[in-house]
């Protein structure tokens, strides 16, 4: 039997090839470059790869093609999402590269040492760090780019694993609070493995229904397959579980706060921004390309899930006392808002979702960058009570954080407002008024925890032994600047990105 090699459009695939290739080079760097130089080599390599990948995405603009034997679709949404993932990934890598805050970076040098033991304490005080973090991040980012371009469910599954496995590892690498970090990694890995299993099982059932894993073929099958619909619905439900898990949507959200809290903060930023983009990108593609004609069956379910996600995320955010957990619940609620755009099921829905994902990514990375800066002797001071009076100690960083929090709360002149407006308008256009009403109510509830942080920072008196705000190194400062500029610019002059998202809203089938 002869198997023809599939034709590959290398130009169209170049972004993910660059990222994955650079990740492989990064592994070689670990093997051959002396330890002292590794950090810088890795940082330069990663940033160069990300810039090259972004250039590749820009060069592919307006491409609409399906390549690799129908496995990969390069179209507007794929390119927009890839670009977002790469830019947000670059900003997260800047945070990972920061060495002036901790001795070394946020990563431990040897993850396998028992937490709390003497060697562990020795490691914590040494400036060496785990430079494998960079290739791991590149693998994850490459996987995400593939994830949003996957045109068949098997490739999507492979991409899911490529992006997930490095993240599981990265979660365990925190230099401080090792136990919390490792526990988070185990939790993330176990639940993620379950979710992947559901996804794969769903793929199998859908294959049984449609006789193919290709999204376009599934679309055709949905319109005229004689097979039993039970296969379709059960398969779709299982697929959904796998995707919603990655997106951190209620009721598959329970890992989010623990993992966000336990992971090293730069990794949390990476997950909160890029993974969210990737997950929703895949959700968009699956539902818009493959299952649009069964919308009467799944749309009410997604609407209910979106409502639940917004309300649960908002309500639980109110009760949080740890800033990272607060941001985690806020990201859950935001997942609900994004889902509001997804279920609109029109072009406006796609473009508003794309815009939301990009805008939200910048804000959330910026917020985590500020979290990295607020430190005391034990590392980051994440308990909210420690943030009291921060506005008096360092007005600049409190001000920056305030911009992010106001954006999360959806105040005008920030990107958060434009994003919310866009998805709500799309949802009303799509006929789901109830969803928007729930969304508005959730926004009201959600304003409270953000406001509480602002109150703490400005209106409370500083604690005697409160944390100091470290002066950020160049990398963090760059990430913060990008975050603030993007948050404000996308709030005041969002036209360019909105137009870009609008032009990119057409899937190829």
């Amino acid at each position: 039997m002869n198997i023809d090699a599939p034709k590959l459009d290398y130009a169209a695939l170049s972004p993910m090839l660059i990222l994955l290739g650079a990740a492989c080079v990064g592994i070689l760097v670990e093997a051959f470059v002396p330890r002292r130089a590794r950090h810088w080599v890795q940082v330069v390599l990663s940033l160069a790869a990300l810039i090259a990948a972004f250039v590749a995405v820009v060069l592919q603009a307006k491409t609409e093609t399906i390549t690799a034997a129908g496995a990969v679709a390069i179209d507007g949404p794929a390119l927009f999402l890839s670009g977002s993932i790469i830019v947000l990934g670059a900003v997260s890598v800047l945070l990972m590269a920061e060495r002036s805050l901790d001795s070394g970076s946020a990563f431990v040098a040897q993850a396998a040492v028992v937490a709390g033991s003497a060697p562990d304490r020795k490691l914590a005080s040494e400036p060496t760090s785990h430079t494998e973090a960079f290739p791991l991040a590149l693998f994850a980012l490459g996987g995400m780019v593939l994830f949003v371009s996957a045109n068949d469910l098997l490739i999507m599954f492979i991409a899911l694993e490529v992006l997930s496995l490095p993240l599981y590892l990265l979660c365990a690498l925190a230099r401080r609070r090792r136990l919390l970090s490792q526990e988070a990694a185990v939790k993330y890995f176990l639940l993620g493995a379950f979710a992947s299993a559901f996804f794969l099982y769903g793929v199998a059932l859908i294959y049984g229904y449609a006789g193919s894993v290709d999204l376009a073929a599934i679309h055709d099958a949905v319109n005229g397959s004689p097979a039993n619909d039970v296969l379709l619905f059960v398969g779709l439900a299982m697929l959904l579980i796998g995707l919603l898990f990655k997106a951190g949507v209620v009721p598959f959200h329970s890992w989010t706060p623990d993992v966000y809290q336990g992971a090293p903060t730069p990794v949390t930023a990476l997950m909160a921004a890029c993974t969210k983009v990737a997950a929703f990108g895949a959700i968009l593609r699956v539902f818009y390309v493959a299952f649009q004609s069964t919308k009467w069956d799944w749309r009410p379910v997604l609407i209910a899930i979106a409502m639940l996600t917004m309300v649960v995320g908002a309500v639980l955010a109110v009760t949080q006392t740890d800033i990272k957990r607060l941001l985690a619940y806020s990201s859950i609620a935001n997942a609900g808002f994004i889902l509001t755009g997804v279920v609109a099921l029109n072009e406006r829905g796609v473009s508003s979702t794309l815009f939301y994902l990009a805008a939200y990514g910048f804000t959330t990375i910026g917020a985590f960058a500020v979290v990295m800066l607020v430190r005391d002797a034990d590392g980051e001071a994440t308990h909210l009570s420690r943030w009291a009076g921060l506005g008096r100690r360092s007005p600049l960083y409190a001000g920056v954080m305030t911009v992010f929090l106001l954006a999360f709360a959806g105040l005008p002149l920030t990107s958060g407002f434009i994003s919310k407006f866009a998805v709500f308008a799309a949802a009303i256009d799509g006929g789901s008024v109830a969803l928007v009403i729930v969304g508005v109510i959730a926004s009201m509830i959600l304003a409270f925890p953000y406001l509480r942080v602002i109150v703490l920072m400005y209106l409370s008196d500083p604690a005697e032994d409160g944390p100091t705000v470290s002066v950020p190194g160049g990398f963090t400062a760059a990430a913060l600047t990008i975050g603030v500029l993007a948050t404000v610019a996308l709030g005041v002059v969002p036209t360019q990105l909105l137009d870009l998202a609008g032009e990119a809203a057409q899937f190829v089938r």
């Binding site: 007005p395 005008p412 009303i428 009201m444 406001l451 400005y458 137009d499």
Partner: protein
């Protein structure tokens, strides 16, 4: 007179706020002078704009429009009608006065003076933006942005309960604002269906034919936001806290201008965009307004705290404004708009005088005063005049407006007019009683044997004198304002489709 006058006017204070933020730390005096100077420039520009306004010309003047977010159908539309113009004038006059009044207060408790004045200018920019925007989306942006500087002014520079008051203020306003957001989105979708393309431009929306059900729902969203901001009973509970805790300067702007955005919103958006819904809900608003007049006035009598008392009187006055707006008569509408200006001047002045007293005694409680009229005769005089303006004594500015409102309401709905008139009686009670308890009678023993109180300082005289002049001046001769207001109100009433009732018992009114 077209051209970018209004965008410049809006951006100018923002630039000032940024400039102030970059002044060297500790240069407090410089910051104050720069801020006051800046606000005087804004005042001059506003005067130029007022001089160029033609009362008999187009409804919106100084119109300019810029592309903003085409995919949302929103543009940066600027323009003023007579109603917005008088509000701009009010902002321009009050801001420098308020800044001068905050000379000592801003730095109290080792807080940054720069930031205080920077926030003041940012607030001024947002308030100007609200009144000059003629695109609903653009308006909403300013409407919400306005919260942020005021939140920090209350929260960072306010009294002992400032945190509570600031958060309450912010959450109430934000919740109201989100209702409006829902309506703004609804408006967009309806306009996309009716006009073929989604738009927020006021003139296009005002001519739109909207279905009854949709119109009423969207009207309610706007109404709740404006009623919270105004504040109308039963959405008023944040104001006594915010007004009571805010530093005096911010309190004047809060009650004097910012709250007017609510009643301005009724006039600019509720009435013209949703005529049917406005007619449908008018009785409800009138009832709420009258409850507000009586209930808030009664509560004001019971207050121990002077700032809270003044804040409650505002709730009562806003009741008058609301019933004036929803009476759908020229007199009622013009009276309401005039009241918006006069209330800003009179209540602002009252707040400032109360602030002078507080600065001397260090207490806001009425019971800590008593007989101090003899110690500070000039302040007493100012207190008396502003108090009389607050209860709308003839010859003060509030009288004209209150009279017009009552005539307007009476000709449409005599019962409502009669009941609202009761509010005047109660108003006399709380103002006179406050003056009596603080100024007259024997000297409060807790002040000591021979308390040495400075009378009005030169700075304070500069603060209060312009307002006293305006109180008397507009009380005697309100015509210039009414000339500007009347055409705008008439245009608004035409939008609602209501004619003035035939004057039978009550004749005239138009001077």
């Amino acid at each position: 007179m077209n051209g970018p006058w209004l965008p410049v006017l809006t951006v100018l204070p923002l630039v000032g706020a940024v400039v102030l933020a970059f002044l060297p730390r500790g240069a407090d005096r410089l910051a104050k002078l720069v801020a006051i100077g800046w606000s005087l420039v804004v005042l001059v520009l506003t005067i130029i704009i007022c001089a160029g306004f033609d009362p008999d010309g187009d409804r919106f003047q100084f119109v300019s429009s810029y592309t903003w977010i085409p995919s949302f159908g929103t543009r940066l539309d600027f323009g003023v009608d007579g109603i917005a113009l008088v509000m701009l004038a009010l902002i321009a006059v009050l801001t420098p006065i308020v800044m001068l009044a905050s000379w000592h207060e801003s730095g109290a408790g080792r807080r940054s003076v720069r930031t205080y004045y920077s926030l003041m200018l940012a607030l001024q920019a947002c308030m100007i933006g609200v009144f000059v925007a003629t695109d609903v989306f653009f308006f909403y942006v300013w409407f919400e942005a306005m919260l942020v500087p005021m939140y920090f002014l209350i929260g960072s520079y306010g009294g002992a309960q400032r945190q509570y008051a600031a958060v309450k203020f912010f959450l109430y306003s934000l919740v109201g604002g989100l209702f409006m957001l829902a309506s703004v989105i609804g408006l967009y979708v309806v306009s996309a269906r009716e006009l073929g393309e989604g738009t927020f431009a006021f003139d296009k929306l005002a001519g739109m034919d909207m279905s009854t059900a949709a119109g009423r729902w969207i009207w309610l969203g706007f109404f709740v936001a404006f009623a919270v901001k105004a504040p109308l009973f039963p959405f008023h509970t944040w104001l006594p806290d915010a007004g009571g805790q805010a530093p005096i300067g911010a309190a004047v702007l809060l009650v004097g201008v910012m709250d007017k955005v609510g009643t301005f919103g009724f006039l600019r958006y509720n009435l013209p965009l949703f005529p049917e819904a406005s007619r449908f809900f008018a009785p409800l608003v009138i009832v709420l307004g009258i409850i507000g007049i009586l209930y808030a006035a009664l509560l004001a009598i019971g207050q121990h705290d002077m700032k809270r008392l003044v804040a409650y009187t505002s709730v009562a006055h806003f009741g008058f404004i609301a019933i004036g707006v929803f009476a759908f008569t020229t007199q009622g509408g013009s009276g309401a708009v005039l009241y918006m200006v006069n209330h800003g001047i009179a209540t602002g002045a009252l707040f400032l005088v109360v602030g002078f007293l507080i600065a001397r005694r260090g207490s806001t409680l009425i019971s800590d005063y008593g007989g101090v009229g003899r110690l500070v005769p000039w302040i007493y005089g100012a207190f008396f005049i502003t108090g009389m303006a607050s209860l709308a004594l003839p010859m003060t500015n509030s009288f004209v407006s209150e009279f017009l409102v009552l005539i307007g309401v009476f000709s449409r709905n005599p019962t409502a007019g009669v009941v609202a008139t009761l509010g005047i009686v109660v108003a006399a009670l709380y103002v006179l009683w406050m003056i009596q308890r603080t100024m007259h009678g024997p000297l409060n023993p807790s002040l000591g044997e021979k308390p040495s109180w400075r009378d009005l300082s030169r700075r304070e005289a500069w603060v209060i004198a312009p307002l006293l002049v305006l109180i008397i001046g507009l009380g005697v001769y309100p015509k210039p304002l009414l000339d500007v207001i009347n055409p705008a109100v008439k245009a608004t009433l035409t939008d609602v489709g209501k004619q003035d009732p035939q004057p039978t018992e009550v004749a005239g009114g138009n001077r």
